[in-house]
């Protein structure tokens, strides 16, 4: 039953052996001349400034989260718009309530001052 898959197993072993073998052999014959400049971070040839673990302003996350909320709103609108005639007045009022709820939230975050950057 499984005998016919032996060539596949052989191919997998060969592929792995080639990958690992190449790495090992290049480790032996390749020259290694590490120095301070070579080990420094690649910033397109510029001097690296600061660390990679930079901290972003929390404002960014607020705006990103708000974007997701309104992005999902648009996403819900697409299937509704496609089937608008079939769904009729009921779906239209449902969608108005949905948009109204989000709009109330939008009014709330403006009042809270989330979108004020200073």
């Amino acid at each position: 039953m499984f005998e016919q898959y032996i060539p596949v197993l052989f191919l997998i072993v060969l592929a792995c052996a080639f990958g690992v073998g190449s790495l090992v052999v290049t480790g032996f014959i390749g020259p290694k001349r590490p120095n301070k400049i070579k080990n420094s971070a690649y910033e397109s040839g510029m001097e690296p400034i600061g660390t990679a673990h930079e901290r972003y302003s929390v404002k960014y996350y607020m705006v990103a989260m708000l974007f997701v909320v309104f992005d999902v709103e648009i996403l819900f609108m697409y299937p509704w718009a496609v089937q608008f005639r079939m769904l009729g007045l009921f779906a239209f009022i449902e969608m108005l309530i949905f948009i109204g709820l989000l709009f109330a939230g939008y009014y709330y975050i403006i009042k809270k001052g989330v979108l004020e950057w200073e």
């Binding site: 014959i29 390749g30 690649y42 040839g45």
Partner: protein, 159 residues
Amino acid sequence: MGIESAFGDGYVTTTVDALANWARKNSVWPMPMGLSCCGIELMAMAGPRFDVSRFGSEVFRFSPRQADLLLVAGTCTYKMSKVVRKIWDQMPDPKWCIAMGACASTGGMFRSYPVAQGIDEFLPVDVYVPGCPPRPDAVIHALMQIQEKINHHSVMMDK
């Protein structure tokens, strides 16, 4: 040849140098430094008409960590020279360098204070390509010169 006749048909023997050089010269991955108009000819070289992949160099690496060949194409100002030199320093050995075009080779027509009069002021250039800009096949010829140079390379030279 002694050992090959002992093995019989179906076996090939080679030296580490020959195998390593064969692998190296057919996979010279360039780091393109398109500094000015020569960069357009450099792109044409990678395109289907001139098709540098015939020589194994179609993989343009935009990180020096994976590149073997620094292809400086165009006018190099002194301000840029520090960047080019740093990228060269960050490339792993063994590495090669082509100065493409009159500007990279000699400064070209820019005989002025901000322009390096040839990148060999700060880089060990292997092959110079004349032209303003050079045709893509001239750059391919330079690449073949690099391959010829790799042919005379020995693994023991790196140690």
